[in-house]
Symmetry: C2
Subunit: 515 residues, 2 copies
């Protein structure tokens, strides 16, 4: 058994059975080993940003790691942006990156590069196997690292000779250590703070879905605290029946406004609130200086346990009430397209138990609020601010949850970053309905240019913000990737395309011509 085989067997023995891949020559023995193990589900992405983004979406819905296969330093570089997003989502993954054989590294070959350097800039854990006999143990350590602290980026670098030389027997990865928990004193203090007027229970990660989410709603109802989430998050249960939860807006002034009466902010599964960007005359921290921020349980700690501990400290009975989101299904609007109507239409048609991946950026500020009372669903958002996560993440989510409908909402600028994922959706016949908000540019930058006080756009700015001359034709782009598509410029057309998308089993795309 060579090193590559020892790794594949270690992955499978450890329960890692999905591999998003774009391999090259330095990974050939790994490919051969995968070939001998058809129980490993290998999914080709035509660009590595699709690989890392899919591994992110997979983790968010599966709650466990997949492997990836990347080709040397540039391959990791191509995966960097969505690995950054995955890191911010707290998604674990095992990146397997080939490198040159050790003896080859002393010569200036075309693909010699700094794999540990580029990987180290975004990974929580990096190791380069020194010998083929180490690969099984290193692989097991990588899996354990990827599963630690609720999910981490673990990168295992395999010099080609460690793949082709004789390896050791495969191993089973040891269980990841339990994530850290706050002390009893910290929980007591936070519980007391929650009962103060102006308290906010500010949740993220594992407090956003499942039993912890319901319990968080019960805590809020019991204490009178506001239940809130960040603007962007990895995964949240949403829609009818879920505990009502506020969400911080993206721009700084309304964010400050929403927090202006806050006295106590108890963070569970979340870092403290912070502005997305810094601006010349605005603070980085949006809460009033008088508010006390309890960094009780950061995203790498045990949020479900912490919520449970708070509920116990507050003596909340199991059947305590919470403020449940009522079902609100608007009629499907007709006529000219507006973003408000699109939101109503989404709320009307969204099937129960759908997964919604939203990276529609500016459009979402208007589109998403009407969907809060839709049938219950999971909502995923871009977490790291690196655009191009929507299509890959939706791909990975659909692989992880093949029995669920996936709706991918994306701006046109964002979708262009990783449009190659459309092909993977077609190849795997994933049940994804993609809506591209074709507003012909990076609309958020118009607002940002104004917000930094940099004035109105002139020719150079307009040419960098606006995707016009020529316009993108998303129907052709989708068809080129093997995904059926339609253009919608009325609500009737949008409604029909959306209903058709949800009714069909494979992928489809709607180019929504919108303001």
């Amino acid at each position: 058994m060579n090193g590559a085989e020892s790794l594949v067997k270690t992955l499978l023995a450890s329960g890692v059975d999905t591999c998003f891949a774009n391999p090259g020559t330095s990974e050939m023995h790994f490919v051969a080993a995968l070939d001998d193990h058809p129980d490993m589900n290998c999914i080709l992405c035509l660009f590595e940003g699709g690989v890392s983004g899919a591994a992110d979406g997979y983790f968010r819905m599966k709650g466990d790691v997949s492997a990836t296969l990347l080709h040397l330093a540039p391959g990791f570089g191509n995966a960097f942006g969505n690995t950054h997003n995955a890191r911010k989502a707290g998604s674990g993954m095992v990146h397997v990156v080939g490198n040159h054989a050790g003896r080859h590294m002393k010569y200036e070959s075309p693909l010699r590069g700094d794999v540990p350097g580029v990987a180290g800039a975004v990974s929580h854990w990096v190791r380069e196997s020194a010998d083929a006999t180490d690969v099984a143990a290193d692989g097991a350590a990588a899996i354990r690292a990827a599963r630690s602290k609720n999910g981490q980026i673990a990168t295992l670098i395999l010099p080609a000779d460690t793949a082709w030389e004789a390896g050791s027997a495969p191993l089973v990865a040891e269980p990841a250590p339990a994530p850290d928990r706050p002390s009893a004193a910290q929980v007591e203090a936070a519980a007391a703070a929650l009962t103060q007027p102006g308290a906010i229970l500010y949740i993220g990660r594992g407090a956003m879905f499942g039993p912890a989410r319901r319990l968080a709603g019960q805590i809020a109802a019991h204490t009178g605290a506001r239940l809130m989430a960040d603007t962007f998050f990895a995964r949240a249960e949403r829609g009818a029946g879920t505990p009502v939860m506020g969400q911080l807006p993206y721009p700084v002034p309304p964010k400050m406004e929403m927090l202006k009466d806050a006295t106590q902010i108890i963070c569970v599964g979340n870092n403290r609130p912070v502005a997305f960007f810094a601006y010349p005359d605005r603070p980085s921290l949006p809460e009033p200086p008088t508010a006390r921020v309890h960094e009780l349980c950061d995203p790498q700690m045990d949020a479900p346990w912490t919520i449970q501990a708070l509920a116990q400290a507050l003596d909340i009975p199991a059947d305590a009430p919470f403020n449940a989101q009522p079902l609100a299904l608007p009629d499907a609007p007709t006529g000219a397209v507006t973003l408000e109507k699109v939101g109503a239409s989404l709320a009307h048609y969204l099937p129960e138990n759908a997964i919604v991946m939203n990276e529609s950026i500016t459009s979402s500020f208007v589109v998403m609020p009407p969907t809060v009372g839709a049938r219950p669903h999971d909502l995923l958002t871009g977490t790291g601010g690196s655009i191009g996560i929507c299509l890959p993440c939706a791909t990975g989510a659909a692989v992880a949850a093949p029995d669920r409908k996936v709706l991918a909402l994306t701006g046109d600028g964002s979708a262009m970053y990783t449009l190659q994922s459309l092909w993977t959706m077609a190849r795997e016949q994933l049940d994804v309905t993609v809506v591209v908000f074709a507003n012909r540019g990076y609309q958020i930058l118009h607002g940002e240019l104004n917000d930094v006080g940099a004035g109105q756009p002139g020719r150079n700015a307009a040419r960098m913000f606006d995707i016009v001359e020529p316009q993108l034709d998303w129907v052709s782009l989708a068809r080129g990737h093997g995904v059926p598509a339609t253009r919608a410029d009325t609500m009737e057309a949008f409604n029909k395309a959306l209903a058709d998308g949800f009714a069909s089993d494979g992928p489809s795309l709607i180019e929504l011509v919108c303001p």
Copy 2:
């Protein structure tokens, strides 16, 4: 004047007047400054791999640096692959990367990342401005670094507050230091070696075009040495009238065969020959152990001066003859498509003074040889083994040389990596004819799997090598980006599309259905 303005003025004052860009919020003040300076030619790319690849192509044809505009760590990550390729091509560029304001970096915001880490893994020079008053001087230093040693990757990281706060007066970058030269003794020894039987003059970079290339041919003719180049190179003059030059093949066995009689290998503008990858039973160094390798002038040294010095040491008169490539224009073939016929067709139609960017990988081994006697042209190739350089590099080359026809030859797997560059070609109405060799997969990997002794592909390997189910439709993909396209599955159709492409002024794409 804020820091951003001081940088834009420094760039312009230093002769850097082209900026390939995909900006974000942290670069808004830089965008505003660009807006005030319409003499800066800002070119939007819809993905950062298009940005760095265009800067590469621009440098190769212009011989000078452009600036780029990238958005924090993920933006640099997206540009990483083609920055790697540019580094291997010896192309200089000034990457300007925004970062969070210093005061914002202590909080875990979505876009906080390790910009110096990812940049440092591929840049020759990295600096993060500490203060707005440093930006002009840091910018001038970056430009000088990018122009040093024949071209380097210089990355200037600008925290947002250094862009918006008051800066210093703009500066003019000091001239780059002259590149190093070999000693007189080294030149003498190399000149003597060139007269030995079995000598090879192995050239790259600045010895591949212009007067040095002709002189290298005269040296070869005078000494009897073989004139040779590497498999992949940044830029070479080629076609009728250029000195005949051999080229190392990609696979190791024929590379060893071509070098088996070598006794002296004199490297000028080149590193020593090396296998592209390591393989279990093949050496990294392809020459026989008895050959002496003279590492006379590495790619960062002064190749034109070294060639001149060798000619002087050998007393070669200015009008010495050289072995010139004869013009060989085959008839345009008809009938079924074969790669041999495609090569003949390219040779038939290629206009004089065209720029050919070739990343057709496996196809090129058959397609390119018949074009060696075509009308004189410049040939650019992928230099770093990171696929996806063709379309961006052709874009940058066309921007640098707007009066020349550009032919971009690319495999389908490679083109998918950075297909967004098609839109920039359409936006800028660049005179590029793109040929996509639609052989439906990463054909090179089939050969590599065999070459590493890993056996025949099974289901998992085939699903990672073959881009089928569904097939890509390049005509739709191109149209989606605003580029007119045709599919050619006969030589007649290919010939017509190619002639039409060269006859028109804007971009066009041919999907060549080929074996």
